[in-house]
């Protein structure tokens, strides 16, 4: 089973889409529809039918910009503020303009959004300052509906091949090297354009349960996109702005601010007292959450037991049926009932995910990275707070731009030696007779991430992390051992995770100020707008280790008033008078 075989095959296509989760299928569909004669390949290390962050569906859109309920200007302003000012607005604005068209298109695919009893979109929380929440009552059918469209459009789907490195030629992308996750056979895909949709780096920190796969993100999203972009020479932006989310303790399902909040649920401390007013996920909110967890008032709970029975049933229906059906089993196992007990909460392990924060491959409003012909979309591309609809919309933008790019260029020549070198790197753990298995390399990396890299961030600790991670890297390069093709996939994931850990340490040390609340709380530095109102861009340096530079935030296209800038600051409930 999963026996390692020798083999290498080479194919070519106009556009290669890596990752068949959310952004990827949309990118492939849009590229194919714009140029039906083009050869578009959609590749996934799992199976496109159920791969990615929305494997089992999604309970709603958090960021729908629907005419009559919100405007692109309002949305761009909100995201700029939520992201502490560091945001290239053009990409956010373009998303906001185009996402309604994508909603309608998804609707026509059979993905259903909540409508009122007149068949009109039932956007929640209507007021003129903008409202963005659109529930999805049958959100569990998302992947099924997407897959149906892919099959109808006759997209070439390649399952169970994991891309390990991009091929480049000067400053252009030339294709990708992939390896079969069940046979270790290689596949070289020459491509005129490549769209990376590989999701978050969700296996970076270790969850408190200690179970390697009990992560907030789909555990298959182990940061290959970040690592591949890095090794290809692309720039990655603001990696120090980690993703950290509130969670049900031990069960890594979100704590449902969007579901329970509008219905009256809220976060409390152990005394049942509210300590933050607003459960909207921001770094500042997470800082208050963290402080309460660490204080004598902790831990933190989700309080629903004050709500009407009708409301609780509605919350259960949404949370237990649609997004993570095991949530109901979890509460049942612990004997917790929303009606009676409060639900213990915690914070998630750290990760990279621009979908919820801003840590991603640097892209412009066309989803182009800093490498020609290379695109990125979804959780791994740095359009901030982008969520699922952002992945669909920016995937569409990438697909349409990439197919045009591919029409005008020939294949880029690449160095055959790169393939041999990658083959040697990938197969090294198969050439040994014993050694350290990938799960131990991964566990140690992620344990070090928790010990030294998760906030509050301290210079001396992060420098220690770099030393210890270098030791793990040494072991990985010289002593990692795998016995079959499945473990080989895990060894490649372990390498991506280690790359991401190195990038997290480097980026966090580089920005010597605190920003985005808990996400980058450098306790030995204050916030410093004068020197740090900028992106930080990380690339692979000459000595094969990360290097960082500052990049100016592009001039705003939507102005932010001074008294709006602090919208997410000081959220702690002030003491009763």
């Amino acid at each position: 089973m999963d026996e390692i075989k020798e083999g290498i095959e080479q194919i070519e296509c106009d556009v290669l889409v890596i990752g068949g989760g959310t952004a990827g299928p949309m990118a492939a569909l849009k590229a194919k529809r714009k140029n039906p004669k083009a050869n578009v390949i959609l590749l996934d290390k799992a199976n496109v039918k159920r791969s990615g962050a929305i494997s089992m569906g999604m309970d709603g859109l958090n960021n729908s910009v629907i005419p009559g309920y919100a405007t692109p200007e309002q949305y761009t302003k909100e995201i700029t503020i939520a992201n502490d000012g560091i945001c290239d607005q053009a990409a956010v604005y373009r998303y906001a303009e185009e996402c309604y068209g994508i909603i309608q298109e998804l609707d026509s695919f059979g993905i259903r959004f909540q409508k009122d009893n007149n068949g009109e979109y039932d956007v929640k929380k209507v007021h003129h300052i903008g409202t963005y929440v659109l529930p999805m009552p049958n959100g569990d059918t998302v992947k099924k509906a997407l897959y149906r469209q892919l099959r109808k459009s006759r997209i070439n789907i390649v399952n169970r091949y994991m891309a390990t490195r991009l091929l480049t030629s000067g400053d252009r992308v030339a294709g990708a090297i992939c390896v079969n996750t069940r046979s270790a056979e290689f596949l070289v895909v020459k491509a005129k354009a490549v769209i990376m949709c590989l999701g978050a780096a969700g296996r970076l920190g270790l969850p408190t349960s200690g179970y390697l796969y009990g992560t907030y993100e789909n555990a298959a999203n182990s940061g290959e996109g970040y690592a591949m972009a890095y090794h290809a020479g692309a720039a990655l932006a603001n990696l120090e702005c980690y993703q950290i989310n509130p969670l049900i303790k031990d069960y890594n399902g979100p704590a449902c601010a969007y579901v329970a909040g509008p219905l009256g649920g809220y976060t409390t401390n152990a005394g049942g007292d509210r300590f933050i007013e607003c459960d909207y996920w921001s770094g500042q909110m997470m800082q208050e959450f963290y402080d309460e967890l660490q204080s004598g008032n902790g831990p933190v709970f989700l309080k629903l037991n004050h709500l009407a029975e009708e409301t609780i049933s509605e919350i259960e229906r949404i949370l237990h049926i649609v997004e993570r059906p095991t949530r109901g089993h979890f509460h049942e196992g612990r004997g917790t009932d929303y009606r009676k007990q409060m639900i213990e909460m915690h914070i998630s392990e750290i990760g990279f995910c621009s979908g919820h924060s801003a840590s991603g491959v640097y892209v412009d409003e066309n989803a182009r990275t800093t490498i020609k012909g290379l695109y990125a979309a979804g959780d791994m591309a740095n359009v901030p707070h982008n969520y699922m609809l952002g992945a669909f919309t920016n995937g569409a933008i990438a697909g349409e731009d990439a197919i045009d790019y591919a029409a005008d260029v020939d294949f880029a020549a690449f160095d055959e030696a790169d393939i041999l070198a990658e083959k040697t790197r990938v197969l090294a753990p198969t050439r040994r007779d014993d050694g350290v298995p990938p799960n131990q390399i991964e566990y140690k990396t992620r344990r070090l991430v928790n010990d030294y890299l998760q906030p509050p961030k301290v210079t001396a600790k992060m420098e220690l992390a770099q030393q210890r991670l270098a030791e793990v890297r040494d072991d990985m390069n010289n002593a990692m051992y795998v016995s079959n093709a499945h473990e080989l996939m895990r060894s490649l994931e372990a390498a991506s995770i280690l790359d991401c850990a190195d990038m997290a340490a480097h980026a966090s040390l580089y920005r010597t100020e605190s920003r985005w609340g808990l996400y980058h709380n450098r306790v030995d530095y204050e916030r410093n707008d004068k020197d740090w109102f900028c992106h930080t861009l990380l690339t692979k340096g000459k000595n094969n280790s990360p290097t960082s530079r500052k990049e100016a935030v592009k001039p705003y296209i939507v102005d932010i008033a001074d008294d709006e800038k602090d919208a997410y600051n000081h959220q702690r409930v002030t003491a009763a008078e």
Binding site: A46, T215, P325
Partner: protein
């Protein structure tokens, strides 16, 4: 360093009597994002799906998509 094996209880349970792996079904194996399920031969010569690797995100497609209701996903012991 030499290797040792250690036991672990796995969250995904397959009812062999309902599983139709014998008929060529690999639905659960295919839909798993982490690729942890495999088809195996049983003592009586029939085939069944089982959890080969304890690397589960308890996301449920294997249970939801199984055509005969043979698959049950429990929460991994460490976090339940």
């Amino acid at each position: 360093m030499p290797l040792a094996q250690s036991s672990t209880s796995v969250p995904v349970v397959v009812n062999d009597d309902l599983c139709i792996a014998d008929k060529g079904c690999t639905v659960c194996v295919e839909v798993c994002p982490l690729d942890v399920l495999r088809i195996t031969d049983m003592a009586d010569g029939r085939k069944t799906a089982h959890m080969e690797y304890d690397e589960c995100w308890y996301c449920m497609p294997c249970e939801a998509d199984c055509p005969t209701g043979a698959v049950k996903v429990n929460l991994p012991y460490l976090l339940k």
